[in-house]
Amino acid sequence: MINDIFNILLPQFVLGGFIILLLVLSMVLSPRLYKYARIITVVGISSAVACLSTVQTDPQYFGFRNSIMSDSYTLLFDFMILCCGFLVALLSKNLVQKHKRSAFTYFAILLTAIFGAMNIVSANDFLTLLVSVELLGFSTYFLLSVSKGYHSKEAAFKYLITSAVSTGIFLFGVSYLYGVTGSLNFTTIYEYITKNETSLIYTISAIMIILGLASKLAVFPFANWVIDVYKGTETSTLAYLSTIPKLAMFGIICRLMVFPLSNSFEIVFVIAVLSLITALWANTYAIREKNVKVILACSSSANASYALLTASLVSVYNLSTVIFYLICYVIMNIGVFAYLNMYGDEKSFDVNAFKGIYHKNHGHTALYTILIIGLAGIPITSGFIAKIYLFTAIANSGLVFVPFLLGLLLLMVLALFYYLKILMPLFSEYDKNTTVEKFNTNFSQKFVVAVSAIITVLLGICPEMLIELCRFIAYNI
């Protein structure tokens, strides 16, 4: 037991310690000292990153009666989740300034969400997975409802209901699977499946499990929440919402697809079709939309669906492309929301409200342009390489999937249209009677935007090292 903690769970335990510390401080300290909350959080996440070095990865390590595991794959995802958490904590400055009373609680919940996300990736048991998913879901609910006002409450409530329904579906699937295999443990289920023939009930349960998990990625039957939630949420929380739950969910879905729910063609086909429908829905919805946040919501949904489609065509090569794509995408997304955070949460997010902003904020807007261009998949950004790499995976999966690939490619043309809609007003001349203000920025926002833009360009020019890393991890899973 103690061995298990020191071998795999030390980072989580460190985070847990900091969560308790923050909660205690929230009761003890006066709200005037709110600034320390962010510092404590950043220290906590950094020490968790440092503790990642103690995690045993080679060979795979199973702990707590096989309910939690660790290998290089979980290590990478944990690292990415912690990095995103670090950047989100940096970005939260403006938010907690407005809600000084809840500053400590806010960061405690943020750390809880990170804790949950890390546990999701390293779960080796459906029960552990369920608990971690709920931990992530509820923390997200609280994070969404931190700010005051009707929209924020609406967003949080919608999120709560959707995640409750999707958890229900997930549990339903798990119960069927338990009925078929008699176990909740991934390893046992995998052994059972390799020995026995798959049945219809097994296929249905697998699809339900994946769908229940994918609702957090906004995949088709549960995609609608994304619009209202993004519309009503502060940008720093969006930076969280569009990265950490995505990483966690992709982490577990890829592992489930490769391991316990290994493929029958029906599962692959259903998930591929659903991803395609999601991409179609998201891209067409965004065309008529005028709110930048909603456009980004659709883009996040669409991007997730591209990756999910690739992940569903199970192969090790595909897995490596999905990991690479996720990393690039997450980095770009955080940068985009950091820029919107600079822009200010109180202002209108209508596309036209951004008119002429470039003329007052050259540097930041140029970096933002790079990030948006990266999301659209245009060179010389990591988005271009990631998309090409992802699509090679689909093309290599066989002629059956060529129509899917063609569909995705054509949808990317639509995607380009709405990305242009975001970009165009930035550079246009502003009206003489309105004024464009220079952003009131702080160091952490500038840091996040600059880091993500630089990484985006660097990966676009020299992607080889990261690709090698992803391949290494995918082959070791």
């Binding site: 490596s320 050259h362 540097g363 261009i373 245009i378 060179p379 010389i380 271009f384 390489i385 090409i388 790499y389 699509f391 090679t392 689909i394 093309a395 290599n396 002629l399 060529v402 690939l405 063609l406 490619l409 054509l410 990317m412 043309v413 380009l416 249209f417 242009l420 165009m424 550079f427 246009s428 001349e429 020019i461 020299c462 992607p463 080889e464 090292m465 690709i467 090698e468 391949r471």
Partner: protein, 495 residues
Amino acid sequence: MNMLLSVPFLVFLPLVISILIMSPLFTSNEVIVRRFSKSVFGFHFLYTVIMLIFFSSANPYTADINMFGLDWIQSLGVKFSLKIDTISMILITLTSFIFFMSSVSSKFNIRKNHKFYYSMLMLLESAILGIFTASDMFLFFLFWELEMVPAYFLIGGNFVENYKYQEDAKKSAIKFILFTFFGSMFMLLGILLLHYYNFVSNGILSASFADITDITIPITIQMLIAVCMLIGFGVKLPIIPLHTWLPDAHTNAPTPVSMVLAGILLKTGAYGIYRFNYEMLPQTFKIIAPVLALLALINIIYTAFVCYAQTDIKRIVAYSSISNMGLVLLGLCAINQIGLTASVFHMVSHGLVTCGLFMIAGIVYLRFKNRNIDTVRGVAAVMPRLFGFAVLIVLASIGLPLFAPFISEVLTVIGAMNSDISVFIRFAALFSLPLLILSSCYMLKFLHNCFYGEVTEEYVKVNDLAVHEFFVLASILGALIIFGLYPNSIIGMFG
């Protein structure tokens, strides 16, 4: 001397300068930015000419770039490798020349956002040179996509003062980028399939042009790939149903940008068809060629009629370039040495001609604030020098002897007539001959309407050509005459 000639320098010099100009440290003084960019373009042109002089098709220039000691994307077999062979060399020289001309002619046209404009122009040159030199499919695709970004900003950007067509220009820019992206997505599909099936059937994980062979790939898949590629390049060329972005973009863009678009950008489409369909997938190209020849014929005849109905000078030139690109396509469809030579020759001569025609249209618009051939009258009376150049360049575009287009058009028809692929291509060649008559109809209509007649009172005192305009027109005309009198300078390069 060969030590000094480097392909990466040729391709990436404009990119580096573009970043330099864009950086906030660089001066924002308009005159300095303009003169600096002009001299860079001039230097680049000189450098290209030196390369051309030392070029021999026996040992083409090649360069492999390893970034941080790594191949670009090893796991896909993608290399950052550049190569210049005969056709690339000719097109690179043309690119460099037209960009130089365009930058010189920007003086009166571009009045705002100088830094952004010149940096985008440099970026565009770099991307186009990349397309012409890339010898790896994914690298080719990278440059192909990269080229859209500066082109988009150049077409839709706010560079001209009190420009009547500014709003239209923005819309055209979006139309341009969506069409191109649509095409390039098909192209990407083609590239991915070609890459994968080449790997499956030949066992070499490589995206290099040299490693692709079509012999072992199943013919149906080859056909699929070829059609995808043709859609991709057909948007750029343009082939008829995919052409609607072109007249808008070319008409509404600022004049120097139109010169670049018509002069070079269209040629990337033809170059792509040559590289991918003609060279890498010859089996399917033989099957597709008659169909393409039909499309080329439609391009030639249909747009010539459309062109005759236009009233905007720039629109006339834009449609005439679609018509002429049909001729380039026809030359490629012949699948023989004469056809290929003629098609490359026609790319050069047509590039020069449209560049000159757009220049004339731009000069007329600058002076008269109007581009409608029904209302502009009597330019010849007030601008005799422009009239001289206009007559010569219009005659060249019609295809009169002494000028380059004459040689290339005749060669194309000869090439297509000699084609042994299908009787159909010979028919297409025969029916494309009326182009010569039709082009003289619309071009002479433009000349008559605008240049003759009485000039209205308010325009009596417009200035004739300025020095830089004279320089541009004279250089273009000089090049046209040189290639017209001594066509062997290009034909000879093919050996």
